[in-house]
């Protein structure tokens, strides 16, 4: 691994993003837009908005980074740039960390903007610190990135990669406890949601929103999310093959 190569990858990914202003506007603008919609939809039930608003601020970066990373990585595979990189003096970790640094920076920006809108004009209030919500959001951006990186290996076309969003992200959103408390689900779904990293990401955000701090259980949540990121990056590295058929 080399700092020079890792930062070269990070700078390159950010330059590519900058070349595509429409994507940047969508990445940064969609979460405040959806939060605003939600605020209006819950007009008669402000308590419900207060309950889901905090976790949503922290979960949006997960979905965005999942899509962006899986498509970007798929492009590297299909345009031959990945094959070229694999013939160069570049460690797989340089590539993964380069992506990680770039998307973490975007994740920070995204979370800060969503938080500024939600905690400002939309009047969202959480029991804990808003900075902690933003920090958890950045962690979730990295979780989305590492998951997107891994699943991109299983898509041959961008059509397939886009379909991974409903196939892999939606079940986690539905079962993480955001829509229905997990203890009210049928048993098999509770077990299933135990195995999903987003469940822990949500639980940590929910604790900060309602209880005001992470506590021991929340700290465990953060550890599970961090371990998932490392595991998924490792699996992602395995899918980066220097030799192919």
């Amino acid at each position: 691994m080399s700092l020079r190569v890792t930062s070269a990858v990070g700078v390159r990914v950010l330059t590519q993003l900058r070349r595509d202003p429409r994507t940047v506007v969508l990445m940064l603008g969609v979460s405040p837009f959806l939060l605003t919609l939600l605020r209006g939809a819950f007009d008669q039930d402000p308590a419900a908005f207060q309950k889901v608003g905090g976790p949503l601020v922290g979960l949006f970066p997960f979905t965005t980074m999942f899509v962006v990373t899986s498509i970007t990585m798929l492009r590297e595979r299909t345009t031959g740039t990945l094959e070229r990189l694999m013939t160069l003096p570049l460690a797989k970790l340089d590539l993964l960390f380069g992506y990680g640094i770039a998307f973490a920076l975007v994740g920070i920006l995204q979370a800060v903007i969503a938080a500024a809108v939600a905690f400002g004009p939309l009047g969202l209030d959480v029991a804990g610190s808003t900075a902690l919500v933003v920090a958890l959001a950045v962690g979730n951006a990295l979780l989305g990135m590492s998951l997107g990186l891994f699943v991109s290996a299983f898509a041959r076309t961008e059509f397939q990669a886009v379909q991974f969003m409903p196939a892999i992200v939606f079940p986690q959103l539905l079962l993480c406890g955001l829509f229905v408390a997990r203890d009210q689900m049928i048993g098999v779904l509770q077990v299933l949601s135990d195995a999903m990293p987003l469940t822990y990401a949500f639980d940590a955000l929910d604790r900060v929103t309602t209880e005001g701090s992470l506590g021991a259980r929340g700290a465990l949540d953060v550890a599970v999310v961090a371990a998932s990121i490392v595991l998924l990056l490792g699996l992602g590295a395995v899918t980066l093959r220097r030799r192919t058929a």
Binding site: V5, V9, T79, G80, T81, R84, T87, L88, A245
Partner: protein, 240 residues
């Protein structure tokens, strides 16, 4: 060390999609030469080149570059590879692409300008690659392959679709690089390019028909035109 060939291939077999596409190839390429890999499209040229770069899963056989197994970590800075389809980032400019690959290779910005000049893209250096023509994109890709001044350059159809003047200049560049000690393996399906090469590897249907110099080929077949000589070889093969 001087006796170790730049590329040594022995008994190379490759299967793709269940069928064998390279049937026990053996040859070697001397250092400081331009070797042309010629044959019709689909004969296995790209697969052979991928095997030499070490990105192809091979069935059996030995492939060594500069005395080390193809694809070794230590070879990565020493061997440059041009894929057949341009493999550069379409959403970056020419210069940004080269700066990125340059930083990966650890070469300075001055070198970037040199290779941009070599492929005659100075006036397009700050254009986004996806807005360039196919031939221009191919040249960006070629510039990237030459960036690290590798000892061995594997170029898969570098001159296809290029302006004749530029094609001539590039072949002159290849000869100059070889004279300076680099080894180039250049594929083409156009026989008229064979005359630019010191040695030829003639391929057909996953086999090598001949490995010799253009003049040697002329003498052996008694044909002056190299494409006719190639035909004569194929016919001779059929009779044998």
């Amino acid at each position: 060390m001087a006796s170790v060939p730049a590329i040594a291939v022995e008994g190379l077999r490759v299967r793709r999609g269940g069928t064998e596409v390279l049937h026990s190839l053996s040859f070697s390429v001397e250092r400081g030469s331009v070797t042309g890999l010629l044959g019709p499209s689909g004969c296995g040229k790209s697969t052979l080149m991928r095997s030499i770069v070490g990105v192809q899963i091979v069935e059996s056989g030995r492939v060594e570059v500069l005395g080390e197994p193809a694809g070794s970590r230590s070879l990565r800075p020493r061997a440059g590879y041009l894929t057949q389809a341009p493999s550069v980032y379409g959403d970056l400019t020419v210069r940004e692409n080269l700066h990125f690959f340059g930083r990966v290779l650890g070469v300075g910005r001055g070198r970037t300008d040199e290779v941009i000049e070599t492929v005659a893209l100075e006036s397009h250096a700050d254009r986004v690659v996806s807005n360039l023509s196919g031939g221009q994109r191919a040249r960006v890709s070629l510039a990237t392959a030459m960036l690290g001044e590798p000892e061995v350059l594997i170029l898969d159809e570098p001159t296809v679709g290029l302006d004749p003047l530029l094609r001539r200049d590039l072949w002159a560049t290849f000869s100059r690089l070889a004279a300076a000690g680099s080894t180039l393996l250049v594929s083409s399906h156009v026989m008229e390019e064979a005359d630019h090469c010191d040695e030829l590897l003639l391929m057909r249907e996953g086999r090598l028909l001949a490995t010799e110099s253009p003049d040697g080929l002329r003498r052996r077949t008694g044909r002056q035109q190299l494409d006719e000589a190639f035909l004569a070889l194929i016919e001779a093969e059929g009779e044998a």
